[in-house]
Structures are given as structure tokens and as C-alpha cells.
């Protein structure tokens, strides 16, 4: 039914596609140059990076106005130049324009106390927001008029040096985007508009990224990086290590990035259990907690169970082993229960851990007083949480932790990738796909499932050990059900069974709440809304595993075919 409706709409819009797109592009440029507010918003002190301070300076183009201007130019280029899959690109740009205009206009309306703030009702003309929204809608309509073709497949090959250059530029761009995304709107509460600025930036970044992927560039580059895998890994690692040298190189963002890294490493461990072996684990964060507690108790902190301290590598190894043992214990019911029932068993285990830790069972956890005062790590006398100066370069505090955690994430990734493409990994995936058939192929499914739990738990334990030293305090509060769910959400959001997906998922889930602080009580609502939107438009996750991506593409093809047949019938 709906498919028929779309094809009718297309036929009505088809001749208008190009003119509408051009009009939309022009309007987006105009909107960028128009005034957006009728009153002065910035009567206080404004941080340097704020874009909103230009609301009443109509011809200075920065911040979101700059984004609007770029969108306008991109739209005009896409409409006039020979662009592959033009409709798809325009649709992405249109939604981006709409999002940026709408977010800013809405924010101004709320802060300005009504529609007067974005219209001429207050006597002054400030149609920027309205024009921007109209531009976005026009471009979206134009894209449906032109028609949404499949993503273009770029066939041309490049020589190795050129490929390296392209990859360098691409990963450099990613690094820049990450740094920009972290620092947009300033740090935490220091800028009252940080949340709106961040959301607006997200709209811009999302629109551009979707347009690039629509035109086929993203697919081409990922194929290229697949081809030159070693080089890509090295460049990616280098980019991660360069983050402290960008705008994000201050103590605050180093801490946030380090925390993301810890959760990303844990999420990759969970990805083994959930993504590869297909075993739903709702109490996974408990293993991280166990690792953190073991490391805390061997750290020589005042309230630790053991009165002595072990060197960190030893303590971390013990933490991983202990967590692994608990993982195997929790995994053992998998021999008897499957699916939902297993999820309930793991949920119960998570609760047992939290309650036991809360009540200081065995004297290991110090109950609700937590174990504070865990000493920071140090290497050759350099404490990890201090800033360090090498010659003229001054690196922010926490940079050593950041580097340690980048290495941890890299190691976890290597473990995951090696296991995934091995005899063990194939057995896990076979179990996920069809457990009975896997057994009929001679796979000892019980052993394999326990192994998945064991390895996943060890990785979580290792991450927990770093967590203990990084945060200095280990309390049961950090390892509750909500954290397990957040980790699971990170895995699913990023794409099950995919490594970059888990990292991206963890980043989003821990950056978004941080960035949305200034919406106060609406924070979690916006966060939830964002998750729903992502899952609506990318049901297999943001960076799905190659196999799953193939599955989805195939389904899309089938749908398109059906639509075609239906349209013909009608």
C-alpha cells in the first residue's frame, strides 16, 4: 500500500525535483545569512567556542550558520553536478538542514519565550530559523521527486600510495570530527548552551556523513581499508594516540575519553558473549566489578582487604583470572537453559553481585563505604594522572591513562578479531545460528559457551582493574543493572559482532549523557529518543558486522522488488 503511495508521490514530484533542490539550496544559504533572533541572547560572558553568540550578528558566519552555509553549497553542488545516487544524497542533506534549523530554532523559541523570537512578531525580522526549516523540507521533497536509488558502488581501483593517502586523509578527518564533537560547545557546565550546540553539530555531522555514505564514498573507503588492513590499523591507532594533541587535549576530555575506552573494552568483551556466541547476558558489568574489586584489594589502599600492594600487571592478571572463573561459573547454566531463561540467570547473577558487594560479603568490598584512595598508576616515577611535559609540548593530566586505555582497547580488539576468525569463533557463530546443527557438527556446545563467558569475563575483569586505578574509588554503585544494560545497548547500537561498532556504541552512550548535561531533567529523555531514532533507522547497528550488513542489504533488495511488483499490479 505505502509503496504505491510513494510511487504516486514520486510521479507528481518528479519534474519538480531539480528546481526544488536548487530552491532549497539557495534558501539554506540565505538562512545562514539571515538573523535568527530578535533579541540579544548573550548578555553574559560567552566562552570562545560558542556559536550562539552570533545570533544577532547576521553577517558573521560561524558555528551552526557555517553548517547551514555548507549544507546550502553541498545541496546546490549535488543538484547541479553529476552526482551518483543524487536522490539519496539530497535526502541526507535535506534532513541535515532540517535538523540543524529545527534544533536551533526550537531552542531559540524556548529560550526567547515564544514564536516571537524567530519571526517578525516582535517588530524585528528574524526569519533565519523558519527559512532554514523550509529549505530542509524542500530538499527532502526534491529528493523523493528525483527518486532514492541504491548506494552507488565505486568500481575504480587506486594504486597503493594513493590508497594510503586516501586512508590517511579519511582517518585524519575522523580524528578531527571526534575532537570537534568532543569539544563543541565547550566543557560540561561552563557553557549554558553546550547541549543545543552539540545537538546541532550532531545534526550537521549526521547529515554530511549520510550524504557521503549515500554517494558511495564511505563504502569505497571501507573497502579500501579492508584491502590495506594493517596500514589502516596502524593509522587508526596513531590517530587515537594523537587525540591529546587536538583541541580535546585537556584533562576533562582525557578523563571522558579514558572512561569511554574502559567501557569500550568491556563492550568488546560482551560482544564475544552476545554478538558471537549469541548468549544474552544481562549481568555482565558484574565481571568488571569483580576485576575492579580484585585490583582495589591488591592496590595497598587503606581499606583494602590485603595489607600489601602488588604491581599493577600482576594485580590486573589476577583480576582477569578471578573474573574469568566467575564467568565460567555463571556460564555453566548455559548447559541447561537457553535464550530468555539464560538471560534471567545472568540477571540474577548481576543482582547477587550487587547485593553481596553492598553488604560487604567476605569483607572484600567495604560495602557502601566503597574502597577509596586507590593509588594512581605510575611508570618510572611518572604518575598517570599528572600532566607531563616533554620539551615544548605540555600534555594534559590523565594522558598516560588515556594511552594505557588506548592500548587496552587495541589489545581487546586484537583478541576479539583473532578469536572471531578462528576455529573457536566459527564454533561460537555456529552455536548462535543453530545450536542443534552445531552439535551435529561435533562442536561441544557446552564447553564452547562456557569458554565464551570465560573469555568475555576476563576482558571485563581486565578493564575493571584499569577502572579501579583510574577512578581511585571502587564502589558497588558503579556496577549495577543499569550499567549492564548500557553496555548491552552499546553492543547492539554499534552493531552486534562488530568491533568498531562496539567502540562507537560505547562512545555514544557515554558521550551523549555528558554532552546533554545542560538539558538537566530532559537529559535522559533526549538520550532515549536518540537511541530510538538510531535503532529505527539503523536496525542492525551503526557499523554492522559485514555478514549482517549483507543480510540487511538483501532484505532491502527484496522489499524494493516487492514494491516494484506491487506498483506494476496497481
Amino acid at each position: 500500500m505505502s509503496t504505491v503511495a510513494i510511487s504516486e508521490k514520486r510521479s507528481a514530484l518528479a519534474p519538480l525535483g531539480k528546481p526544488l533542490a536548487i530552491a532549497g539550496g539557495v534558501l539554506a544559504v540565505v538562512a545562514a545569512l539571515l538573523p535568527w533572533v530578535t533579541f540579544s541572547l548573550n548578555d553574559g560572558n560567552w566562552p570562545d567556542k560558542s556559536t550562539l553568540q552570533f545570533f544577532d550578528a547576521p553577517f558573521l558566519v560561524t558555528g551552526f550558520r557555517w553548517h547551514m552555509l555548507l549544507f546550502g553549497v553541498f545541496i546546490l553542488v549535488a543538484a547541479l553536478a553529476p552526482t551518483p545516487s543524487r536522490g539519496r544524497v539530497l535526502r541526507a542533506l535535506g534532513w541535515g538542514t532540517l535538523a540543524v534549523s529545527f534544533i536551533n530554532a526550537l531552542y531559540i523559541t524556548i529560550k526567547g519565550g515564544g514564536l516571537g523570537a524567530i519571526t517578525a512578531l516582535d517588530g524585528e525580522v528574524a526569519f533565519g530559523g523558519v527559512v532554514g526549516v523550509v529549505a530542509g523540507v524542500l530538499v527532502i521533497l526534491a529528493s523523493y521527486g528525483i527518486g532514492i536509488e541504491p548506494v552507488a558502488d565505486w568500481k575504480f581501483k587506486v594504486s597503493t600510495p594513493v590508497a594510503y593517502l586516501v586512508l590517511l586523509v579519511a582517518f585524519g578527518g575522523v580524528l578531527y570530527a571526534v575532537a570537534a564533537m568532543l569539544t563543541t560547545g565547550g566543557v560540561g557546565a561552563s557553557n549554558p548552551y553546550a547541549g543545543a550546540i552539540f545537538l546541532s553539530f550532531l545534526g550537521f555531522a549526521g547529515g554530511v556523513l549520510a550524504a557521503l555514505s549515500g554517494v558511495g564514498l564511505v563504502r569505497w573507503i571501507s573497502a579500501l581499508s579492508e584491502e590495506h588492513r594493517v596500514f589502516s590499523v596502524i593509522v587508526l591507532a596513531a590517530c587515537a594516540l594523537l587525540l591529546p594533541f587536538t583541541d580535546a587535549g585537556n584533562e576533562y576530555w582525557m578523563t571522558v575519553a579514558a572512561n569511554i575506552g574502559i567501557y569500550a573494552a568491556t563492550a568488546i568483551g560482551l560482544n564475544i558473549v552476545v554478538g558471537l556466541a549469541g548468549l544474552l547476558d544481562l549481568g555482565y558489568v558484574a565481571f568488571m566489578g569483580i576485576g575492579a574489586l580484585v585490583a582495589a584489594n591488591f592496590s595497598g589502599a587503606a581499606t583494602a582487604y590485603f595489607g600489601f600492594s602488588l604491581p599493577f600487571p600482576v594485580a590486573a592478571a589476577i583480576a582477569a583470572v578471578v573474573a574469568g572463573i566467575f564467568g565460567a561459573i555463571v556460564g555453566s547454566p548455559t548447559l541447561r537453559v537457553r535464550g530468555d531463561y539464560l538471560a534471567i540467570v545472568t540477571l540474577a547473577f548481576g543482582e547477587i553481585f550487587t547485593r553481596s558487594a553492598q553488604n560487604d560479603i567476605g569483607g572484600f568490598t567495604n560495602g557502601s563505604n566503597a574502597i577509596p584512595g586507590i593509588p594512581a598508576l605510575s611508570l618510572f616515577g611518572a604518575e598517570f594522572n599528572r600532566s607531563i611535559t616533554i620539551g615544548p609540548v605540555k600534555l594534559p593530566g590523565g594522558v598516560l591513562y588515556y594511552i594505557l586505555i588506548v592500548l587496552l582497547v587495541a589489545a581487546t580488539m586484537a583478541v576479539f578479531a583473532n578469536l572471531k576468525f578462528s576455529r573457536i569463533g566459527r564454533a561460537w557463530i555456529a552455536i548462535r545460528e543453530d545450536e542443534d546443527a552445531a552439535r551435529a557438527m561435533g562442536i561441544r556446545t557446552g564447553k564452547m559457551k562456557i569458554l565464551a563467558f570465560l573469555i568475555g569475563a576476563m576482558l571485563a575483569g581486565l578493564a575493571g582493574a584499569v577502572f579501579a586505578h583510574k577512578n581511585g574509588t571502587v564502589s558497588y554503585e558503579s556496577f549495577k543493572f543499569l550499567e549492564s544494560i548500557t553496555l548491552l545497548a552499546a553492543v547492539i547500537l554499534g552493531g552486534m559482532g562488530s568491533i568498531p561498532g562496539a567502540v562507537l556504541g560505547a562512545s555514544l552512550l557515554f558521550v551523549l549523557p555528558e554532552k546533554l548535561r545542560d538539558f538537566e531533567e530532559y537529559r535522559l529523555m533526549i538520550f532515549g529518543l536518540a537511541l530510538i531514532l538510531i535503532m529505527r533507522f539503523r536496525p542492525v547497528g551503526l557499523i554492522p558486522d559485514a555478514h549482517r550488513r549483507a543480510e540487511m542489504a538483501e532484505k532491502a533488495d527484496e522489499n524494493a522488488e516487492e514494491a516494484h511488483v506491487e506498483a506494476r499490479k496497481a
Binding site: 578462528s422 564454533a427 546443527a437 552439535r439 551435529a440 561435533g442
Partner: protein, 269 residues
């Protein structure tokens, strides 16, 4: 007489009050193809599940080369009995090659540590497994589809892939559960040739099938199962001539069936 490669002795299976199998005995000599036929609900698949360790027989035992088989499908496969499923059960979102390599699992030795570090010995083992899997894919006639997702293969190819996957476990005995279900005559013919070639490699085969013509053209010996009991066992000629078999399938034998059977005879001659 040499020890049969697979022997089911007096196998009975009871589910609650239902006697699915009543003392079924079956002998498979090395290098032979045995067919198992019977109307729907006769207990053929239940019998298969007893052979593969998915069910533990209530009484009786199953022996492979004189040794009692363990009651666990994984261990049975390890011992040398592989199977395919009536309703194809591939690993749908793995590639064709990966599916076959899962079949190699049981013959590979890499443990978790080797899988983690990918050392030289690991690389050799992985390469050998990949080569053997490619060989088997070529053997069953699946070429150039290594990297397709198995769910994308056409139906007949999925059946063949399932056979390749089962062969990858280096079995002594291959159990095929309705290998030609839903196939057209050409595909059925190709499957028959494939099973003959499998026998040539020294693998003994048990086939469940509804297609009587196919079974009689393929098997060295045929067993007829009716309501959980072994009705007749013998060469295709003997079974075909037995009036009880026709009766079990169709009630009273009308003229057409007689005619059909003769036509089938004529075709094979």
C-alpha cells in the same frame, strides 16, 4: 563375516506413552548404501536421532565398528557419524566456505590459545582446513560461491552444501535425511550420482527418503519401517516384491501401483 560399520541392535524409543520405535535392528556393511523408507510417522527420523545421539534409545544400542556410540551428538560426530537434516539446517549468515569449515571443527586441533595468537602451526591448520573445505565444495559441485552467504544459495545447492559440511567431519557413516525432498528429477538424479561418488570414497550411507524410485535405484539394501517396527529388510528387488510394503503405503494394491512399480523396474533395467 566382518564387523558391520554401523549396527543398531533392537533399538526402542518411548516418549511418555508413545512407542515411537519398537525393537528396530539395522545393519550397515562398509561401503554400502542402506535406504530407510516408511510412511509418515513411521519413526524414521526418530530412528535417525537415535543413531546420531540426539536421543538416547530407551532400550537397545547403536554400535559403530563394534563400539557403542556415546549419547551425545557432538561425540557421535567425533566418532565418525555425520548427518544432514530433513529441513535444511545450515548456518544461514555464515558464508558457504565457513559452513564447511565448521564441519572441519571436530578434526582441527587448535585450542583457545592457538586461536588467540594465530601462530604458525595455527596458520597451517587453518590453511589445511580451508583447502579441504574447498575440495569438498568442488566434490559436491559447488564452485565459485565460497563467499556467498549460505542462505542466498538456491534450494538444491543448500542441500549439497549440507552434504559437504557433513563430509567435512571425515565420517565413516553418512546419514542423509530426505536428501531429495523438494527437488526436480534432474536434481534428484544428480544427488543420486553424488551419493554413489560418496560411497566410492569409502563412506557408508544411510538414506531416509519418500521417493521410492530414488531409493530402489540407489540402495544396496532397503529397510521398511511401519509404525515404529521394522516390516521388511532386504535388497530393493525383495522389498519391492513384498505385498506388505505396498499395503503399508497404500492399503490394498490397485492395478496402477503394480504398473508403476513395473515401469520403475523397466527404467532401471
Amino acid at each position: 563375516m566382518s564387523t558391520p560399520v554401523l549396527e543398531a541392535r533392537d533399538v526402542s524409543m518411548v516418549f511418555g506413552g508413545l512407542k515411537a520405535l519398537k525393537g528396530v535392528t539395522l545393519t550397515l556393511e562398509e561401503g554400502k548404501i542402506v535406504g530407510l523408507i516408511g510412511p509418515n510417522g513411521a519413526g524414521k527420523t526418530t530412528f535417525f536421532n537415535c543413531l546420531t545421539g540426539l536421543y538416547t534409545p530407551t532400550t537397545g544400542q547403536v554400535l559403530l565398528k563394534g563400539n557403542v556410540l556415546p549419547g551425545d551428538p557432538a561425540k557421535v560426530t567425533d566418532a565418525g557419524v555425520a548427518r544432514t537434516f530433513q529441513n535444511i539446517r545450515l548456518f544461514p549468515s555464515m558464508t558457504v566456505l565457513e559452513n564447511v569449515m565448521v564441519g572441519r571443527h571436530v578434526r582441527m586441533k587448535q585450542g583457545p590459545l592457538a586461536s588467540l595468537f594465530h601462530g604458525p602451526a595455527y596458520q597451517r591448520g587453518e590453511k589445511a582446513a580451508r583447502e579441504r573445505s574447498r575440495e569438498l565444495l568442488a566434490f559436491v559441485g559447488l564452485n565459485g560461491v565460497d563467499d556467498e552467504l549460505s542462505r542466498n544459495l538456491p534450494y538444491g545447492d543448500q542441500r549439497r552444501l549440507e552434504i559437504a559440511r557433513a563430509l567435512a567431519t571425515d565420517p565413516a557413516v553418512l546419514l542423509l535425511d530426505e536428501p531429495t525432498a523438494g527437488m526436480n528429477p534432474q536434481e534428484t538424479e544428480a544427488t543420486q550420482q553424488l551419493i554413489f561418488r560418496i560411497r566410492e570414497t569409502g563412506v557408508s550411507v544411510v538414506v531416509i527418503e519418500h521417493d521410492i524410485k530414488f531409493i530402489f535405484g540407489l540402495c544396496d539394501s532397503v529397510s521398511v519401517l511401519v509404525q515404529g517396527e521394522l516390516l521388511v529388510e532386504g535388497s530393493p528387488a525383495v522389498v519391492r516384491a513384498d505385498p506388505r510394503v505396498v499395503e503399508a503405503y497404500l492399503g490394498k494394491p490397485p492395478e496402477e501401483v503394480q504398473h508403476d512399480v513395473e515401469a520403475a523396474k523397466g527404467e532401471q533395467a
